[in-house]
Amino acid sequence: MSIYVGKDTRLITQGITGGAGKFHTLACRDYGTNVVGGVTPGRGGEDVEGLPVFDTVREAVQETGANTSMIFVPAAFAGDAILEAIDAGIEVIVCITEGIPALDEVRVKQAVRASDSVLIGPNGPGVISPGAQAKVGIMPGYIHKPGGIGVVSRSGTLTYEAVWQLSGLGLGQSTCLGIGGDPVPGTLFVDTLERFADDPETEGILLIGEIGGTAEEEAAAFVKEHVDKPVAAFVSGATAPKGKRMGHAGAIIAGGKGTAAEKKVALSAAGILVAESPADMGRTMQAVMQGQKV
């Protein structure tokens, strides 16, 4: 079993005719994902390496039975693309686009909450379940191994680093998911933790946070109450200055709140073993799986 994506995934890409959209759609298909088509307004009727292109998401769903969408639409139009996917009844919407205005995300999140759709991202690498050979995102597929560790993160490349460490230690992954670096993510840490807790394939969880907001504190509270699987964590940004945005729109210590130190304290207090060094994310997970406690 896997969460969010799997053997039942029928994927379309919104923005399939763009450079990144095309490249990653094909990479997902090569990995084993069931890709059924794509959408680019005005390009309906064309095809991309054998994949049919439609003008609208509704049409793509009607013609292909798509239930999952991956969005590469430019930031100015990405909010509308998410709304279109919700309207068409897409179940899992993975938005890769970075730099969407915060107000658009606020408005989109309202629509997500009022729907049955799940939004992963924006501004994240997507989601991959190696055991199901399902990849909906931009992560390099080959670093992943099937296994029992669920990885959830606010970062892209730092997640690759973690997965690379895990795979090197022989710890495969059930599902790896980036919730994205923006202030209003579609899916939160707690949403994913809830799924990992219920997923029989997931035996342990690695959570990778960063400065800004209180998502890690909420995750800690959730783990304490609802998760009895081993959990390890890392939080980046201990050296980040206050009041400066560190690349991600959501990675900012505002009004002295959202520091790495606060988050580590909250995670440790919930019984989660926190790696001090990013070089030790894999080893910390391994220690937790072998029964080490805080």
Binding site: A76, V106, G156, T214, G237, A251, S277, P278
Partner: protein, 386 residues
């Protein structure tokens, strides 16, 4: 992107909110003329810098004559203003705002920010205006009242009224105050702001509700559709290197250490700074070249790091996913050849096409220290600079 007080107040005024009459000037003589133009006895001269805490730093002066206005402006213009937000060097004052003094009654606080937990903007008010809101929030959080702002409708009338009544202003001013609060929420939405703050928001003894101060920041991601605001950017207030990096599409933040960092991805870039520190070094910067950087961007990134005289060594940490290691390696080689490498350089590459990337570095003839993983890379660069 931050706006100055005078830019914020122009925005407030255009939206129908009351602000004091004032003039922006950049010479002391013009400050005297501005005082005369205002025509009242009491006026205020306020330094226009992005940093908060101007009052305590000497950047806000009450004046009662043209001569006093000239003297106050002279004391500010062209000189550094040091506040708790500027660092010890301060920021140079290039403009002052000369405003009419008002017969103040109550001093309130109002702001609109994005509440990440509620996933919606919120309007925050306090009856304790004119002081640092962080202090109020820490010591008496119950003194801060909040209402959510709908992403489409703005601040609903009943919520605005509820806040106005709770703030305890005279009954006849509650309507005006509520409309002001709604106006601030509307400005937040219409400007794609990340912050709208009025501290203090005042009532006057002659029955007005006036935005005595004003501070705004605009969401950088929305500047493409806020071009009038984008044109108001004051780059003189920003770290020059950060301006250059932004123009090159790089995310860069200057720090106090001596190890320059070049990394792909924001999370990995922060983690790289952290691991440098864990091994006893101090990062000189945060630099994220992004997930799909070109060879040119890598070259610009190298230039930016090498031009910083405090940088004693460079650590490149790339996890190639979308970005191929051989492309990065070529960028590193091209950049170091173009810029001229005079400091230690440690490169850690992992991911797509890593063998090809490592080979390119090894065969470049350049003095590049390869590292096997993050910890090894941090150890090597810290040793090299100490």
């Amino acid at each position: 992107m931050k706006l100055h007080e005078y830019q914020t107040k122009a925005r407030f005024k255009a939206a129908g909110l009351a602000v004091p009459t004032g003039h922006v000037v950049n010479t002391a003589a013009a400050a005297g003329e501005a005082y005369e133009k205002l025509g009242g006895e009491l006026a205020v001269v306020k330094a226009q810098v992005h940093a908060g805490g101007r009052g305590k730093g000497g950047g806000v002066k009450l004046v009662r004559s043209a001569a006093e206005a000239v003297a106050a402006a002279e004391g500010m213009l062209g000189k550094p203003l040091v506040t708790h937000q500027t660092g010890p060097a301060g920021v140079t004052v290039n403009k002052v705002l000369v405003e009419e003094g008002l017969p103040l009654d109550q001093e309130l606080y109002a702001s609109v920010v994005l509440d990440r937990n509620l996933e919606t903007p919120v309007l925050m008010v306090s009856a304790e205006g004119g002081v640092e809101i962080e202090v109020v929030a820490a010591e008496r959080p119950e003194a801060i009242l909040k209402e959510p702002v709908d992403g489409w409708r703005g601040l609903d009338g009943f919520r605005a009224r509820r806040l106005a009544y709770q703030l305890g202003v005279p009954k006849e001013l509650a309507g005006k105050l509520a409309r002001t609060l709604q106006g601030l929420a509307r400005i937040w939405l219409d400007s794609d702001a990340s912050l709208v703050e009025v501290n203090p928001l005042v009532t006057t003894t002659d029955g007005r509700v006036v935005c005595l101060d004003g501070k705004m920041s605009i969401d950088d991601s929305a500047l493409f559709r806020q071009q009038a605001l984008a044109a108001e950017r004051d780059v003189a207030e920003e770290e020059p290197t950060e301006v250059r990096a932004r123009e090159a599409g790089l995310s860069y933040v200057k720090l106090d250490g001596d190890i320059g960092c070049l990394v792909n991805g924001a999370g990995l870039a922060m983690a790289t700074m952290d691991i440098v520190k864990l091994h006893g070094g101090e990062p000189a910067n945060f630099l994220d070249v992004g997930g799909s950087a070109t060879a040119e961007q890598v070259t610009t990134a190298f230039h930016i790091i090498l031009e910083d005289p405090t940088v004693k060594g460079i650590l490149v940490n790339i996890f190639g996913g979308i970005m191929r290691c051989d492309v990065i390696a070529e960028g590193v080689v091209a950049a170091t050849k173009a810029v001229g490498l005079d400091r230690p350089l440690v490169v850690r590459l992992e991911g797509t096409n890593v063998d090809k990337g490592r080979q390119i570095l090894a065969e470049s003839g350049l003095d590049i220290t390869p590292a096997s993983d993050m910890a090894d890379a941090a150890k090597r660069i810290v040793e090299a600079v100490s």
